[in-house]
């Protein structure tokens, strides 16, 4: 059971669907993420157990609560996205998931069986994947080869974006790679950035319903949230990789040195950030470790399969920005008729179950912290954390960015403390967390504001600054032997 609880904490829906989205988008770091999803629990299983803290620091409790709240917010935000993709109101998906999680986590008898939620959800997800594979008539290797040999990712005649059009839930920009005539499905205000022989000009397009516009290669179209557009059959999907080869063998849009820094940032964020999250729950027996790692392998295998079949059956999902939540639309695009829609609904249930399992594992962690800090059973704390996450998720729209932020934050604050031996006094703990957090904030804000690919990488993975700063502070703050 400890192996299942450990896996539930790590294999949340944001992580699993996020990895699938990176692989589907043909991102260079997609396969690195697959390895990191398995490697992070490995590091937590093998890591040195820190000496028990002599004094529980209120700062570490607060930081853990904040991280838990952000993780819950990311999960709820993803479930809101998936509900929207399947035609339900975003808030309804969030409210159902949060309500189920709360009910299950405060109901004592559920403590015995909730650890089975994560393996059950993964089993259901695998069955849905098997149904999609059966409908495609291709095995996974053949599907990969077909995707990798596609000359282009184009709209098909059966695509809803071609037949009746689709609605963009959020504002964004489309980049066109070939001449493409689009039709407005509803009135709106669009911006067209036209590149013409080195000079660019911005024009406004205010179509009525049915109005058309022809865009040329290199043109950008910015659309508002709620815009409805109809695309041309047989044309390349804006935002998709150039071809199957570009998808299978992605090349970064930056230099190799910057890409290497990006890889380091991702590895540091996941390995160091996952450690304080996972280490306290790590199973102590080989059987428990095997169960946890088998589930991690099952989750990554599913993400790879889902990405490959989505590349084969659903090139529409490349449109604009690939969002993890949008991938639940795959069954409705790959399987004909009502069966596809039903499979999408079944997958949503599995996604909610994964979220609830993660929430229950976080609830146990918070209860343990509350007991250690003399804060009672922790129900009030848990209610506050889940309630805060529920409210925040109604506005949050970037579950993956939130997950990376939380792991980077943990890598820059609690990771050094989780390995500190002997345990640091409270003042030293506060100093280490403060230094790490300050450097993390500098990386996040400075990197985001600065220009250049390297600054952007630091902004995306601020643990590159925060974690080394916190480790440096730990070395200085460590008590010297007498």
């Amino acid at each position: 059971m400890i192996g299942l609880r450990f896996a539930s904490l790590w294999l949340g829906p944001v992580l699993v669907l996020g990895v699938a989205a990176h692989l589907y988008a043909g991102a260079p770091e997609g396969l690195l993420l697959v390895v990191l999803v398995v490697l992070s629990p490995c590091v937590a299983l093998l890591g040195r157990r820190a000496a028990r803290a002599a004094e529980a620091s209120l700062v570490t409790v607060l930081l853990t609560l904040l991280a838990a709240g952000l993780l819950l917010c990311a999960g709820l935000s993803l479930i809101g996205d998936t509900a929207g993709v399947l035609g339900a109101a975003r808030w309804r998906g969030i409210a159902i998931a949060a309500g189920c999680a709360f009910a299950l986590t405060i109901w004592p008898p559920a403590g015995r069986w909730w650890p089975w939620l994560a393996p059950g959800a993964l089993l259901v997800a695998w069955l849905v994947l098997a149904a999609v594979a059966h409908a495609s008539g291709l095995g996974p290797i053949a599907a990969w080869s077909r995707v990798a040999s596609r000359p282009a990712f184009s709209f098909e005649a059966t695509s809803p974006w071609v037949r009746s059009g689709g609605t963009f839930p959020e504002a964004g920009v489309l980049v066109f790679a070939e001449p493409h005539t689009i039709r407005a499905g509803s009135p709106g205000v669009f911006g067209v950035i036209v590149g013409d022989g080195g000079t660019t000009s911005v024009q406004e397009w205010r179509p009525q319903r049915g109005g058309t516009l022809t865009l040329r290669p290199g043109d950008h179209l910015s659309y508002p949230a709620g815009a409805r557009l109809i695309f041309e059959n047989g044309k390349r999907v804006p935002g998709a990789p150039r071809s199957g080869i570009a998808w299978a063998d992605p090349t970064a849009d930056v230099s190799r040195a910057v890409e290497l820094v990006r890889f380091l940032g991702l590895a540091l964020t996941f390995l160091a950030g996952g450690f304080p999250l996972l280490r306290p729950s790590a199973p102590r027996t080989r059987v428990g470790a095997a169960v946890a790692l088998a589930l991690a392998l099952a989750a990554t295998g599913w993400a790879e399969g889902w990405a490959v079949y989505a590349g084969w059956a659903a090139p529409d999902l490349f449109l604009g920005t690939v969002r993890a939540g949008a991938l639940v639309a795959l069954p409705s695009l790959a399987v004909d008729g009502q069966g596809g829609r039903r499979l999408g609904g079944v997958l949503l249930v599995a996604v909610i179950a994964l979220f609830i399992a993660g929430a229950a594992a976080l609830r146990e962690r918070i209860a343990a912290l509350a007991r250690g800090g003399g804060l009672g059973s922790g129900i009030a704390l848990w209610t506050g954390v889940l309630g805060g996450a529920l409210v925040a998720s109604l506005w949050s729209r970037e579950p993956w960015a939130l997950l990376v932020l939380v792991l980077g934050f943990l890598a820059s604050t609690l990771a050094p403390l989780a390995l500190a031996s002997p345990a640091l006094p409270v003042r030293a703990q506060i100093a280490v967390c403060a230094v790490g957090l300050a450097a993390f904030a500098v990386g996040a804000l400075g990197g985001g504001a600065g220009g250049g690919a390297l600054a952007a990488t630091l902004g995306a993975y601020p643990a590159l600054l925060g974690a080394p700063a916190a480790w440096g502070a730990l070395r200085l703050a460590r008590p010297r032997p007498a």
Partner: protein, 66 residues
């Protein structure tokens, strides 16, 4: 000693992905049985190898739950 050795092995497993993705001559793009070497390694070999290495070198604790 054992922990350090395992850590180095896992580091090598991770470095393999970076090498295939960013290394010279696009070695990761070589097709083996219809799938690129990068996908074989990053999608199958490296995760399974990391899990097996961890289990092989995992030292069970003397006390605690299952």
């Amino acid at each position: 000693m054992r922990r350090r050795f395992t850590g180095r092995l896992l580091g090598l497993v991770l470095a393999g992905v970076a090498l295939l993705a960013l290394g010279p001559f696009d070695v990761g793009a070589v097709r083996v049985a219809g799938v690129s070497l990068l996908w074989w390694y990053g999608g199958a070999v490296a995760p399974v190898a990391a899990a097996l290495l961890t289990l092989a070198l995992f030292a069970p604790k003397s006390s605690g739950g299952r």
